[in-house]
Amino acid sequence: MNQQDQCKLQITNRIGLRFLAVCMLAVIISCSDYEQTVTTLDELVIQDEFNTNGAPNDAIWSYDIGTGNNGWGNNELQFYTNRKENVSVQNGYLLITARKESFQGSSYTSARLLTKGKFEQAYGRYEARIKLPWGQGIWPAFWMLGADIDTNPWPGAGEIDIMEFRGQDPTIVLGTVHGPGYSAGESISKSYTLKNDRFDTGFHVFGIEWAPDYVNFYVDDVLYNQITPADVPGEWVFDKPFYILLNLAVGGSFVGSPNSETVFPQTMLVDYVRVYK
């Protein structure tokens, strides 16, 4: 009944009728919430709300620096740094910024953050609220790698892409798993398309619910895919700790190169990263 009281309070002028509609909608939504079986993955394990200006919290995040092997395995064009020009926390957001600049033999710079060795966990709910950059050849991602990757090379270690995005497809994100026998072009993937909206004009929540026998992918309040051991044509490797990565790549086989119309710099804004168990 609290919702009703709220309605009463808000109806104080001519646009009360509009509020009424909103309130009634709220009543309906919350009522159905009560009836829904909500996931039990609601115990917060780690969170970064990015509320301290400066460099990201080094208790949680470290960096991949450079160009990796063959552009991090994907022919990516950027040189990753941990300079403040490429990664910083400002006004409550983590900013990962891709720049067009000549740097150590690369034409672009950007950043890739990871929790390897600092936070690794099997199972749980992983989500981040992100406003994405845009344009041809822009490739941001929020993803995870198996923590044993140094001794169990990719794709054996497993990869869960909670969110990948092609800057030239501003309404579409992808959620994917890679493992032995189902990696790269054969990965298990599904896209989610926003209706009458796009991912680079506002914040959206990207998440997975990961349990021993499934990985659920969701955007905001929409669950759009579930992948189970039955869906993968190989070993199910999602039964051990993984670590989290946030990065903004430029170019590479997944997106193609930027073109003359791609606007730089491009910034991926992360409002928070939260992990529950």
Binding site: Q4, C7, K8, I11, T12, N13, R14, I15, G16, L17, F19, L20, C23, M24, V27, I28, C31, W134, G135, Q136, G167, Q168, D169, P170, T171, K195, N196, D197, R198, D200, T201, E261, V263
Partner: protein
């Protein structure tokens, strides 16, 4: 849930009524809503939407438009446009406006969309909305829209929908023959939409360039290259040409230059001012820096008897027919400008980025064999350094009165830096003999040459006399 709803409605009505009552005793509250124009988004779905009219452009093929019930994207009919062949006596092109003269409130939409196809791949010259045969205040044009034989959906973004609260121009187009040949195209499901995916606005003025111009008090300059670019859901960056009224213009010094809402810059004082613009809160790329040299001093008015003069360019005499004042010879020529400066009714030629430039008058050539001198007034509004020079060259096309043919002759007279003074009219009277021409019966060209040592040159009163 039902009972909650009913209670809430009663509460709402009570609140509503009490507010209305209290308002009666006061002035208009901020909640007053003014009468709105209808917000019907449909232009042509299977027929004319309510209020829609059809007016072809003058000179266009008046029956180029028809309603086709056979070929259509969906529903029962589509708009068909038959572009005429070159030479069609009915009209040289297809073009029309489709206004709703009652006006519509389009502020809730972000694009005009339609499906289209054609009998052949083609490029439609202009297509858009906001043309009402009136002020065309909020006109938007998609230039060179490529169309194919497959039905394709097109999106023409609205630069700033908040401006379109009483818009009349629902749709317009203009298209000529392709390589001389007519063809047909169809448009269906033409309507305004709120796509929610028209984003990342990047307005521009002067095509996004930072331009600099030297000029004088009393001149006016039109804003050009006004565009708005949006990124669409498809990833396409769609640029449209937009009218000045969508922008808010700003002058950094209104004592030097002012811009009105039609994008006309007036130079009102001496000094420097930068013109910038904002569209719907977004700073437009591009600017114009005006360096106003102050009051313009006109070149001395010629006083020679018109009977003894053959004039090429002067407000004091009747001029011969001139083909051009800047025949741009790519790729060697850099010179911009021409006879496009008017100050207080005085026409002046202004060249910028000068290396060389020609005025040509070969239709017909002129006979200056009876003349003794060439006169010209020049002004150089920049510093004159050692090595700077201006050469004036005359070209005669010879007996065949045409370029080439082995009978042409030309000759030049050069003025070096010591003969030149900055920011003042320099009146030159050059004996024709100094040019060393073999013939002066078929004169056709006057060149100014600086090899980029002098960049900006004003020219007035070019004539031959005796």
């Amino acid at each position: 849930m039902k009972s909650i709803k009913i209670i809430s409605v009663r509460i709402a009505l009570l609140g509503f009524i009490s507010i209305m009552l209290s308002n009666c005793e006061r002035n208009l509250s901020g909640d007053v809503e003014f009468a709105k124009f209808p917000s019907n988004p449909e232009v042509f779905i299977d027929g004319f939407s309510g209020g829609l009219e059809y007016f072809p452009f003058g000179g266009s093929k008046p029956d180029a438009f028809s309603v086709d019930t056979d070929i259509r994207y969906s529903g029962t009919a589509a708009m068909r446009f038959d572009v005429p062949n070159v030479g069609d006596p009915a009209g040289a092109f297809a073009g029309a406006i489709f206004p709703d003269n009652g006006g519509r409130d389009l502020s809730g939409y972000d694009a005009l969309t339609f499906w289209a196809k054609a009998t052949q791949a083609a490029t439609i010259n202009e297509i858009g909305f906001g043309n009402d045969f009136g002020e065309n205040k909020f006109m938007v044009t998609l230039n060179n829209m490529q169309i194919s034989t497959a039905w394709t959906k097109y999106t023409i973004p609205i630069p700033d929908a908040s401006q379109l609260v009483a818009e009349r121009g629902m749709f317009w187009y203009a298209e000529g023959p392709e390589n001389g040949n007519g063809y047909s195209f169809w448009i269906d499901d033409l309507k305004f939409e709120r796509l929610g995916t028209v984003a990342q606005p990047r307005p521009a003025i002067f095509f996004g360039e930072d331009e600099v111009i030297e000029t004088f008090v009393g001149t006016t300059i039109n804003m050009t290259g006004l565009t708005q670019t949006f990124n669409l859901a498809s990833g396409l960056n769609q640029t449209v040409s937009v009218s000045p009224a969508y922008f808010t213009f700003k002058s950094s010094d209104v004592d030097v230059a002012r811009v009105n809402e039609n994008g006309v810059i007036s130079i009102v004082g001496r000094g420097t001012a930068e013109i910038t613009a904002v569209l719907a809160g977004v700073r437009a790329q591009g600017s114009l820096t005006i360096q106003s040299l102050g009051a313009f001093v006109a070149a001395p008015t010629p006083t020679r008897n018109a009977a003894n003069v053959i004039s090429v360019f002067s407000d004091a005499y009747t001029n011969i027919p001139v083909d051009f004042y800047n025949g741009f010879f790519a790729p060697f020529q850099t010179t911009l400008g021409g006879a496009d400066l008017t100050i207080g009714g005085d026409h002046i030629i202004r060249y910028t980025e000068l290396n060389f430039v020609a005025t040509e008058f070969k239709n017909p050539t002129i006979n200056v064999s009876q003349m003794t001198h060439f006169h010209v007034d020049i002004q150089i509004p920049e510093s004159i350094d050692p090595g700077d020079f201006i050469s004036i060259e005359l070209g005669d096309f010879g007996a065949n009165a045409a370029f080439g043919g082995g009978d042409d002759s030309s000759g030049r007279v050069t003025f070096t830096n010591t003969a030149l003074t900055r920011n003042t009219w320099i009146s030159l009277d050059i004996p024709l003999a100094q040019f060393g021409l073999t013939s002066r019966n078929n004169l056709a060209q006057i060149f100014f040459i600086s090899d980029a040592t002098i960049s900006t040159l004003l020219v007035d009163n070019m004539y031959f006399y005796k």
